[in-house]
Amino acid sequence: MFELTEEHQAIVAMVAEFAAENIAPHAVQWDQEHHFPVDVLAQAGELGMGGIYVREDFGGSGMTRLDAALIFEELAKADPTISAYISIHNMVAWMVDRFGNDAQRAAWLPQLCTMETLASYCLTEPGVGSDAAALSTRAVRDGDEYVLNGTKQFISGAGASGLYVVMARTADTGSAGISAFLVPDGTPGLSFGALEKKMGWNAQPTRQVVFEDLRIPASNLLGEEGAGFSIAMKGLNGGRVNIGACSLGGGQAALDKSISYLKERSAFGAPLIGQQALLFQIAEMQAELESARTMVWRAADALESGSKDKVRLCAMAKLVATDAGFSAANTALQLHGGYGYLAEYGIEKIVRDLRVHQILEGSNEIMKLIIGRIAIDS
């Protein structure tokens, strides 16, 4: 499991080439201009990146979670923000594939897999983050329809997506009273907040998503009524591995840039790489990233095989990989000195982008809660 197959290598090579050609040269500019490159996402979709682990009958690529982790790491080397958005889109496409009925799968998967239609995931609310089971967006059954009211917060892709998978309360029974719904863009009653101004992740829009007496057919219920929380948590297991992989890519890119910089930059008459104190920092970045990578691959494998250990392994992968990625990027900024602080060199952007990975998909404190509880319960 620790050696990549020839097929894995071919996948990595293709994604690396695609990202180096179509994403990396524009990453700094997209960040500066807050540009969401939907055209490039559609190109990625053509290559199969819109439904990486979606079954093949409706256009998915039918690949494994490990394949996905490798793909997101490569994309993130070029731009963590774009990679992270694609990973969220994939999580939603997987939810439709895994929990949708054939009519829902046929209606949505072909366009999601090509990324002609983008998807957003709506769980968090203005007053409800880590305590997701307390969400208050409400869905009330009215004949053949559900009527949704509420507000979702920090929604990636909001305003640009064609499909919103929304977690809403159908009963006042805590986590058991949450259901998942498919809300198409353009549904009357759907509106968006202003673009959030953020520290990073500027190449994808983040907005509130607001539902005001929004009516959708009852057939837009995804899975059973009351299954929403379970769907959300299952989706997040994969989301955690994916975001960990995105952090690895960002961190690795920062490390690679640091090695080149220390080799070419001289101070006190010799290249900086000759300073053992700096070499040790490179070694630490490398070791932390490589350990985290091993963890991400193991979690991806556990998720793929349905191992009973998957929840804690996914949480650990998210925790160590997002910490290792941010730490590597932050160290890289220091190693680059003043140049690291300039936007042009792309390092400060990686730091800003990776910082949020420690917060979302379940904050790293929540990861510790999950890992700790499982540790003491078993």
Partner: protein, 254 residues
């Protein structure tokens, strides 16, 4: 229509390549082996025909060491239907005449309507193999094309030379070689990559093609290029512009 695309694996063009002075051969271990970019453009031309007409069969043919199977695999992942790998240790360092003879022998059995190849490889840069193959097979060659129109019974295209452009055409079967003017190759998609290993690749030795391995070219000597000497530096003390003009005039550069 059946199209055979000639594909060559070469040392990565993006890196500095090394010629082994003792053998006169490229040091293949010094660089990552990749599918030649011009081969990819040739393949793209064939695949664009297949895009329009799904019944088109695209076969890739490569002569090279065992590692060349990766180049074939990549071509299959991009959309080619099958591969032929001519693998024979005796062909190591084969010259252009022997290479052309071997490829022609393989093509004789391939029953192709059209053969597409790059005009010259990125490593050897001889540029003679397409014409030699055409001669062996008695096929019309439209070489170094900048554009092509592939019909079901004939092809036409344009080639550039020192005087201008030539419009050329031929009936099929024929062989064409393409230049950098052709479209860049597509990326293989995931389905292509996953499906490539299920596509057939046949491996042939020179003897199976009835070719007697004998090089006709002898390399008499190989010399390493002399290292570049440092240029002269002009430090601007108010006279730099005049000194530059003097330099350019003296060396007849202006």
């Amino acid at each position: 229509m059946k199209i055979v695309v000639l594909v060559k694996q070469v040392p990565d063009t993006g890196e500095e390549r090394i010629l082994d002075a003792s053998t006169g051969l490229v040091d293949r271990d010094a660089n990552d082996p990749v599918i030649d970019e011009i081969s990819e453009r040739a393949l793209e031309a064939a695949l664009s025909v297949k895009d329009r007409d799904k019944s088109t069969e695209v076969v890739v043919l490569s002569m090279g060491p065992s590692d060349a199977s990766k180049a074939i695999r990549k071509a299959l992942s991009m959309g080619a239907d099958s591969g032929i790998h001519i693998l024979d240790d005796g062909l190591l360092g084969a010259d252009a005449t022997l290479t052309a003879q071997v490829l022609a022998a393989a093509l004789r059995n391939a029953d192709a309507d059209l053969v597409i190849t790059g005009n010259e490889s990125t490593d050897g840069r001889g540029g003679v193999v397409p014409a030699m193959i055409a001669e062996h097979l008695n096929l019309p060659l439209m070489g170094s094309l900048t554009t092509v129109n592939i019909g079901s019974a004939s092809i036409s295209g344009q080639r550039r030379n020192d005087e201008g452009t030539q419009d050329v055409s031929a009936d099929l079967p024929a062989i064409i070689s393409v230049t950098e003017g052709f479209a860049e190759a597509r990326f293989p998609n995931f389905k292509g990559i996953m499906g490539a290993k299920r596509k057939p690749v046949s491996t042939l030795a020179a003897a199976e093609l009835g070719v007697n391995i004998a090089a006709r070219t002898k390399i008499s000597s190989v010399e390493t290029r002399a290292p570049r000497s440092a240029g002269s530096t002009i430090i601007d003390e108010g006279q730099a512009a005049a000194q530059l003009v003097d330099f350019l005039t003296t060396n007849r550069l202006i």
